[in-house]
Amino acid sequence: MDGVHDMGGMHGFGAVDVTADESSHSPLGTRAQVIAMLSGGVTRAILEAQDPAAYLRSHYHDRWLTCAEDHLVDTGTVSDDQLDRWREVFEHDAAAVPPRTASERGVDGLIARLTTTPLLSESVGSPFVVGQRVRVRRMAPLEHHRCPRYIRGVVGVIENAPGSDVLPGQPEDSRREDLFTVRFDSVDLWGDRTANGEPAYDLYIDLCESYLEPA
């Protein structure tokens, strides 16, 4: 879907707060994200489908937590009453902490998975080759995708063909497509912005075959 998360090129967000140097707004930020990832179900598609105003209002880990709460209640994994009961406990008892349990199987398998690099697969074959000019298709997909609006309709050159992957948001055993690193000239994306202090530059982005057409 083309949601508010697709921010490339938008105006109005102000200067970068370069002093916002930590990885989390809260000591529990990373833990909340981990809980959302481990309990399954919170995907990029769900994060992007959040109400746009809520998305913009909340910080990064709050988005993960809110989506996890909504998803896990919707699927009956936890209940609203249960969350309310625990919130009451943690709000009023500064010494209270969540119950602690250990897996019977241990965590070696999890650690092995987290420390294994997920590589792309070999090419599955494609009509496109490195050096070819391609145009990003015009599209308005309702499902999850990884083709930002700011490059659509623009012509670039394939700079690299690193392999193949499943389409974004699809299960690991789905059909694969070749992936291409495409280079765009900034003038083709935004016009000549030299007067704004931005002489031409290169923009590289990875796109799967079905986002592209010959130019």
Partner: protein
């Protein structure tokens, strides 16, 4: 960590949990930071953890292990080590630029969000990395991204006014140098190999690594010569 609430709270318990499974010394709940007023975010996060553990959906040791990998096993000290080795060993640098994942595996570096391509800064090109759609980042090499990398200003502007953004980081790119912006939209994570500063000829890899800050490997800074 920056804490928005740091009201001291009396806490009569030296050890807030006495569960027999509690054999971890690194849980967030063991730290003094937990002995203060909790924000509503923290209350909600703890409640969700408690409910999931209570229902047997997650176990605490798995949560602790995952957090530990993200916060301790991954981190910019790995990235700095890789940069220092690439500066010191031309053959390693060639392998790193050609097939980063294989070269990183030589050093035992790898993991989730770690399918990496290394892009080299040169006299002609300055690279910088962004993820406009979310906040994709090479976790094993750099750890978790800084807040500014996840914020809307950086995500929206890096692809339309990179030099202006870099100026906000105090970095002025020479007009003759071409800027290259890498928008991490798929499952490849980009890592910038910064240029080696002058005056570092005799330094060891460890000494070189100490010069390499996280932002130089994202491309929002360059490595300064030693003072």
């Amino acid at each position: 960590m920056s804490h928005s609430h740091d009201d001291p709270h009396d806490d009569p318990h030296d050890d807030p949990h006495d569960d027999p499974h509690d054999d971890h010394g690194h849980s967030h709940y063991d730290s003094p930071a937990s002995r203060r007023a909790r924000s509503s975010f923290e209350v909600r996060a703890m409640a969700l953890e408690a409910a999931l553990v209570e229902n047997g959906v997650l176990t605490t040791d798995a949560i602790d292990a995952f957090v530990d990998v993200m916060e301790h096993r991954f981190g910019p000290h790995h990235g700095a080590r890789v940069v220092a080795k690439a500066w010191s060993d031309p053959e390693f640098k060639e392998r790193l630029l050609d097939d980063a994942n294989a070269a990183l595996a030589e050093l035992g570096i790898g993991g989730t969000e770690g399918n990496v391509r290394v892009i080299e800064n040169t006299d002609d090109t300055h690279n910088m990395v962004v993820c406009t759609l979310c906040s994709c980042y090479p976790w094993p090499l750099l750890g978790l991204p800084p807040t500014w990398y996840k914020d809307y200003a950086y995500r929206s502007r890096a692809v339309i006014e990179p030099r202006t953004v870099l100026r906000e980081f105090g970095l002025e790119i020479d007009p003759d140098v071409r800027v290259a912006v890498w928008d991490s939209s798929a499952e490849i994570r980009y890592f910038v190999l910064p240029q080696r500063p002058g005056g570092t000829d005799g330094l060891t890899e460890d000494e070189l690594a100490a010069l390499v800050d996280r932002n130089t490997m994202i491309g929002t800074a360059v490595v300064a010569a030693p003072a």
